[in-house]
């Protein structure tokens, strides 16, 4: 198809598509007029049933926890897929990684910048941890905290360099976090099955609403998700960073 032809066909198609979308959307209740019942039922009963205060976490880690299992595995699969797609193939002649030379990282950045970066990374890490563990109480949880933790490790890379990034997030450990995060979620479910409950049934004591240790399995699952997401994000960064090492070698060579 010529570029012009494609654009014309798209305009015609998109007009029809937009008309269909708007026709469908016009059938929705007006904005601000959510009618339930699903969300209202959960808003009304989750605090009493599960002793937690964050309803989104209640849904993600309890009512619809099985969705989240699938979602964790999407991340796990993507990380595995990245390792497959960005693998080093035999035809690419491998030299020793450039950053194995100890001096290189230090020379690029000023001390002040490094310290600032490190501090920022430290704070971000702390913040990430806080977000992870308070999922059932306040906004945040395993996804958000995990993503923040992952980004914090990337800050280490930006501030100091690849080697430091690998030091704070060793590959073996992150592989392990990624695998145990995803597998651990499945194991919690299998555990509830063995204990005679339904898959992922919340069977731990619920505790006092508002406490850090309350809501039964919710904080446990949430921690596992945090492990998976932070491990997964760091591994994703690592796969791409590994890629950037190569062209600079070629250029220098």
């Amino acid at each position: 198809m010529s570029e012009r032809g494609r654009l014309l066909l798209f305009v015609a198609g998109a007009a029809g598509f937009a008309a269909l979308l708007l026709w469908g959307l016009a059938g929705l209740p007006a904005f601000g007029d959510y009618r339930g019942p699903y969300g209202d039922v959960i808003n009304a009963s989750a605090v009493a049933q599960r002793h937690l205060t964050n309803m989104a976490s209640a849904i993600n880690f309890d009512y619809r926890g099985f969705d989240t299992l699938g979602e964790e595995y999407i991340l796990f699969t993507a990380v595995t897929g990245l390792a497959l797609l960005l693998r080093e193939i035999r035809s690419e002649i491998e030299e020793a990684p450039r950053d194995a030379s100890p001096n290189r990282d230090a020379s690029d950045r000023s001390d002040a910048l490094r310290w600032f970066g490190l501090m920022l990374a430290g704070f971000t890490n702390l913040f990430g941890l806080y977000v992870v563990i308070h999922a059932h109480l306040t906004p945040g949880g395993g996804f958000q905290g995990g993503a923040i933790l992952g980004t914090a490790c990337l800050l280490v890379y930006l501030a100091i360099g690849y080697r430091a990034f690998r030091t704070v997030s060793p590959k073996v450990l992150m592989d392990f976090a990624d695998a145990t995060g995803a597998g651990g979620y499945a194991l919690i479910g299998l555990g509830t099955l063995l204990a005679g409950g339904a898959f992922l049934q919340n069977m731990l004591p619920l505790g006092q609403t508002g406490d850090l240790l309350s809501a039964g399995t919710v904080p446990v699952i949430n921690l596992v998700v945090g492990l998976e997401v932070s491990g997964g994000f760091i591994l994703m960064f690592a796969e791409f960073l590994k890629e950037t090492r190569k062209p600079s070698r070629e250029k220098d060579a």
């Binding site: 976490s57 996804f143 993503a147 992952g150 994703m236 062209p247």
Partner: protein, 80 residues
């Protein structure tokens, strides 16, 4: 509140348009990070702090960073 929300929606629409229309990939990533920020603000106004936090961490930090790393990998090697 309603006026604020309407403005946020319009800004998001403009932001999304800007992302789609920015042709230079590196500049586009920066616009994307900004767009992620706009989305986060909108989500806060829609009373969805969890989603806002997630979008902030993923949409305006993690994703643009990965994109920049990938762009660094491909930049300057346009040959053939």
């Amino acid at each position: 509140m309603i006026a604020l929300q309407a403005m946020a929606f319009l800004l998001v629409a403009a932001g999304g348009t800007a992302v789609a229309l920015t042709r230079d990939p590196t500049r586009q990533v920066l616009v994307l990070a900004l767009y992620g920020l706009l989305l986060s603000v909108l989500f806060v106004l829609l009373q969805a702090p969890d989603v806002a936090l997630s979008e902030l961490a993923v949409g305006s930090a993690a994703l643009p960073l990965i994109l920049l790393v990938a762009l660094a990998k491909v930049r300057g090697r346009e040959h053939e």
